[in-house]
């Protein structure tokens, strides 16, 4: 039997001859599975060089190397992968903030030079760059939440008839959770005009070391309660987490730190380097954000500071422009009082030219720093603007702060689409609600809604509070009958800027509209009033072709070496630019005086 089996069995194998073979003819060119983790691909147009791939790589297979910066919020770095170290775990893909990094399913690469196995995906072009298959982050897998932690706030019906602060601030748990979303890349630092140490103070929140957080913030910004509430937060527009989700609430996190450290602890926490006072004297004209910032950093350098403020209280536009529901006065005072507590002298109700002259300032101080801001409202100059019931937004906002009586008509039209326009619209809406029980305020602007300069949330909240925002109209005439305002005639605005991006509005005169009103408020921008400089000094100052004072962009020194300028006069307008240029002017003043007194 055994012999027969031995003879027959080789033939039995023949039945497999017609079967599909299980082996592969060309194993070297076998295509890998669709989600195989092979060589890296990086979409350079998406990548911002945030470096989270480098940070997460346990094998240190990724270095960030310099390439040309391509866009705003791009570090100009790109990951270079060393396949001598990479283990293809793909954590770099999972953590990638923009989703630019992928692993293709290519897996064969032969080279005789070991150094070639180190390359910058997307920059050093490779055959697998165009492959579609490979490893991408699994659906639903997120290493950090993409939604920001919402903040408790007053709803429209709770806030529309009062000036109580709307936003409540984060609790500890909320702030910790929000801080935990930060990937610590530091892309935001360049976008902040003051270059605040954002990743560091967010880290201090995670470590629950808020005093350290406060110290970090004060290195670059002495107005943190204020900026924690009303900063224009350029940082958040470039936040790497914002590329696929909502950016970090950097502004609210700053507020959280400031809110948690009581004012009585500031001196102990912040005043760690003992300052030796020197005999140098600096006069600061204007107690707004730039003047206060310069005063803080100069006094930390030992200078004797005297601020001259025209109005009865310090803060400038932060107090007299921004409504209390966005920035309560006690929080404003917390920041300001700390600066004044360092020995900064301040003379209120003091106008240069009236109470004290520029000559006196020049004679009695080493340096004069002028940061008087933009407090003169601009007019549309359309027919009817001379009527007594046509107001400037900035004047009304100032009166509301000063608690002076203002006329609140039943029907109001605000001309303007910026944040100041929203501030006066929402303030007047509140006053109407108090006086009449209903809101009849319309805000209209040249810009259509998509290009309105106001922050989006301002427009949304104004509407929630009952105001009507009707943008895209050019004001033509204020109709007056028997010396009483009837309303505002407008025509459709087709475009605001021309091809060269210059302000040059165009209208369709055939499309008219009429907004009924008893009172009109203009809010189309503010200008400066530097008449206090007097001709004697104004003439000596170098100016550009448009008449703006020229200053050194690093030191803010004018062509008169003892005279420095800052704040909204020079750039902005917003608080954080003023804080930044006040700080730079302080350093500029110190460097200048050191150089001439050597």
């Amino acid at each position: 039997m055994g012999i027969i089996k031995d003879i027959v069995s080789p033939f039995a194998v023949w039945k497999h001859f017609f079967k599909e073979p299980v082996t592969i003819k060309d194993p070297l060119n076998r295509i890998a599975a669709p989600r195989y983790r092979g060589f890296h691909q990086n979409d350079i147009s998406q990548c911002i060089g945030c470096g989270t791939c480098e940070a997460i790589c346990e094998n240190e297979a990724i270095d960030l190397v310099a390439v040309a910066q391509t866009k705003n919020g791009d570090s100009g770095l790109r990951p270079r992968v060393d396949y001598g170290r990479c283990c293809w775990c793909a954590l770099c893909v999972d953590v990638c903030t923009t989703g630019s990094l992928k692993l293709s399913n290519a897996y064969t690469w032969v080279d005789t030079d070991g150094d070639n196995f180190r390359f910058t995906p997307g920059i050093d072009l490779k055959p697998w760059d165009s492959l579609k298959d490979g490893y991408t982050k699994a659906k639903g897998l997120e290493l950090y939440p993409l939604e920001r932690m919402p903040m408790q706030h007053l709803h429209a019906h709770q806030r529309d008839n009062s000036f109580i602060e709307i936003m409540k601030g984060y609790s500890k748990e909320e702030a910790m959770a929000e801080a935990d979303r930060c990937v610590s890349c530091g892309i935001c630092v360049a976008a902040c005009p003051a270059h605040m140490g954002i990743p560091e103070y967010i880290k201090a929140i995670r470590e629950d070391n808020l005093e350290k957080g406060l110290q970090i913030m004060y290195q670059t910004n002495p107005l943190v309660e204020i900026c924690g509430r009303i900063c224009t937060h350029k940082c958040e527009t470039v936040c790497s987490v914002g590329h696929r989700g909502e950016p970090l609430s950097i502004r609210w996190l700053k507020r959280y730190i400031a809110d948690q450290v009581p004012a009585t602890d500031y001196y102990r926490v912040l005043n760690q380097d003992k300052v030796e006072k020197n005999s140098r004297k600096v006069a600061i004209v204007g107690a707004g954000p730039a003047g206060l910032s310069a005063a803080y950093y100069l006094s930390k350098l030992g200078y004797q500071i005297t601020i001259f403020e025209k109005l009865a209280q310090a803060g400038g536009m932060m107090r007299y422009g921004i409504p209390e529901y966005r920035l309560p006065y006690d929080q404003l005072d917390k920041d300001i009082n700390y600066i004044l507590s360092l020995g900064v002298e301040i003379n209120y109700n003091t106008t240069i030219g009236t109470n004290v002259t520029m000559d006196e300032l020049h004679a009695n101080f080493d340096i004069v720093y002028v940061a008087t801001g933009l407090h003169e409202g601009r007019s549309t100059r359309i027919p009817g603007t001379e009527h007594a019931n046509v107001y400037q937004a900035i004047e009304l906002l100032r009166k509301i702060t000063e608690n002076k009586p203002i006329e609140v008509a039943e029907k109001i039209v605000v001309i303007g689409g910026g944040n100041v326009a929203m501030d006066i619209t929402r303030s007047l809406a509140r006053l109407q609600k108090q006086k009449y029980g209903k809101v009849q305020t319309i805000a209209t602007s040249l810009e259509t809604e998509d290009i309105m300069p106001a922050d989006r949330e301002e427009v949304i909240e104004a509407r929630e509070e009952g105001a009507i925002i009707n943008p895209g109209w050019g004001p033509r005439e204020i109709k007056i009958l028997n010396n009483k305002i009837q309303g505002l005639k407008v025509v459709q605005c087709i475009s605001v800027f021309d091809e060269n991006k210059r302000f040059n509005p165009k209208f369709d005169e055939s499309v008219e509209n009429f907004f009924e009103a008893d009172m009109i408020v203009e809010s189309i921008g503010q200008g400066m009033n530097l008449s206090f400089l007097t001709e004697k000094y104004a003439e000596q100052l170098e100016k550009d072709s448009r008449g703006r004072i020229l200053v050194d962009t690093l030191t803010y020194q004018s062509s008169l070496p003892w005279l420095f300028f800052g704040g909204d006069i020079i750039e902005g307008p917003d608080v954080i630019h003023s804080v930044a240029n006040g700080h730079k002017a302080a350093k500029g003043i110190d460097n200048y005086l050191n150089s001439i007194q050597k």
Partner: protein, 176 residues
Amino acid sequence: MFQKIIEKINLKYPIDVVSKKSDKLMFLTVHKNTAVNTVQYLKDDLGFKHLVLLTAVDFLEQGKFQLTYLLNNPDIKIDIGVRVLIERESATMESAHSLWPTIATYQRELREMFGIDFPDSPGVNDEFILEGWNNTPPYRRDFDTKAFAANFYHQRNSRENNDPSAHMKKNLYPNE
């Protein structure tokens, strides 16, 4: 199903912790001196005749190693992991090679990678994958892999390390 198995084992050997992961997988933590007996009982009397693996975890902070004998019952398609904690200091465990000759290979690997001794296990002191190793066993958590690699291997030159915010400062606002 698991309940019956636990009851049967409990009649013979003590179980400290029962951890049910699913209908198909359960872990039992048992005593060191009865662990191999428990494994043998599962194999010989309860049908868990297939050894899936033997592995270890280093609980450095507690000064213990945890061994896990993962067993499979092919008839009822159920896995049971038998866990046992042993002292980390001069770690020793009774060999189970009389139950499965192949377990000697796992024990040889654990000897090399964790430094756990299995006296009388065939070839337990032979090199497994490390050649000429005279350092701390590399799977022990107090072995510093990175420091070892830095000292032992050639480092590629010209590595760069750029921090995004520092790089942006250098390029965009160097003098501020």
